[in-house]
Amino acid sequence: MAIDKKNLQTVKKLLTEYERLANKYNLNISPVKLKQLDEKRNLGTIKPTDLFAKLRKEIPKELENTTLEEVKRMLKTM
């Protein structure tokens, strides 16, 4: 699958709105995991492989090791 803008938008959403999305799926993220994710998100270093299983499945393979910072940079160039 080629990386297109829509894919990048999706990945950005998953990397930033994981708490809302977990709630949508009726999943409560453990406090420890949530803290880890929040810290990485704030630094821009969070990657799809950091997410929990339900969200990881939605990530295109080509982007699974791309950080939030890189995703934002790629979106700016499109």
């Binding site: 709105e17 949508k24 409560n28 993220i29 453990s30 299983a53």
Partner: protein
């Protein structure tokens, strides 16, 4: 006689059979993470999960996790697909809404279009999580047919349903939704507001 260290799979199975260390409220999350790893053990892991389907009937969190795991499989034969369909369809009757919604998500994940009528028959389910999963199912398997359903769902009385509709319209890149989303950024529910804001930005930018 040497005692072999338990294998990684055995360790995961042990964890699956004990209580969630973060308490009951996080158990769905905990068991899904474990099952996601168990599935990576191939036939041995899958055999364990199918066995646990029988023993965990009264434990909805573990049941839900198993159905999630089954949705990650890649059935190679028609028989495998039909067997999975049969298992997942059976759980559409579960008294536990989060089990039902996970079964629907797995049916979508496996592209089991033959289950469409059965899934749609749950469209008046009491649980907004189930109705939300139906929107996800339709958006994935029948995107054209899903659009009117998604737009209609933007006016649902349940915030979870509105939120699901917004996310799916965003994923499908439906610009027709923009006027609706412009209103939903002021929704009383914070999650609906966030999803509407993101969807609006994405649709306007694409």
């Amino acid at each position: 006689m040497s005692i072999l260290a338990p294998s990684k799979l055995q360790d995961l199975c042990y964890q699956f059979e004990r209580d969630s260390p973060d308490g009951e409220s996080c158990s769905d999350f905990f068991y899904q993470e474990i099952v996601d790893e168990i599935v990576n053990f191939g036939n041995e892991g899958i055999a364990y999960l199918k066995h646990e389907l029988i023993t965990q009937q009264n434990h909805p969190s573990r049941l839900r996790a198993i159905l999630f795991g089954l949705g990650q499989l890649s059935p190679k034969t028609l028989k495998e697909r039909n067997d999975l369909t049969k298992i997942l369809l059976n759980y559409l009757n579960s008294p536990f809404p989060h089990v039902v919604s996970e079964a629907i998500d797995s049916l979508a994940s496996l592209n089991l279009v033959q289950s469409t009528d059965r899934v749609l028959s749950l469209n008046q389910h009491d649980s907004p999580y189930v109705r939300g999963s139906i929107l996800r199912f339709m958006a994935k398997l029948h995107p054209d047919k899903a659009i009117p359903l998604l737009l209609e769902s933007l006016e649902s009385k349940d915030a979870i349903v509105r939120e699901n509709a917004i996310d799916e319209l965003d994923e499908l890149n439906i610009k027709e939704a923009i006027p609706y989303l412009s209103k939903l950024v002021n929704d009383p529910d914070i999650n609906v507001r966030q999803s509407a804001q993101t969807a609006l930005e994405n649709l306007l930018d694409s």
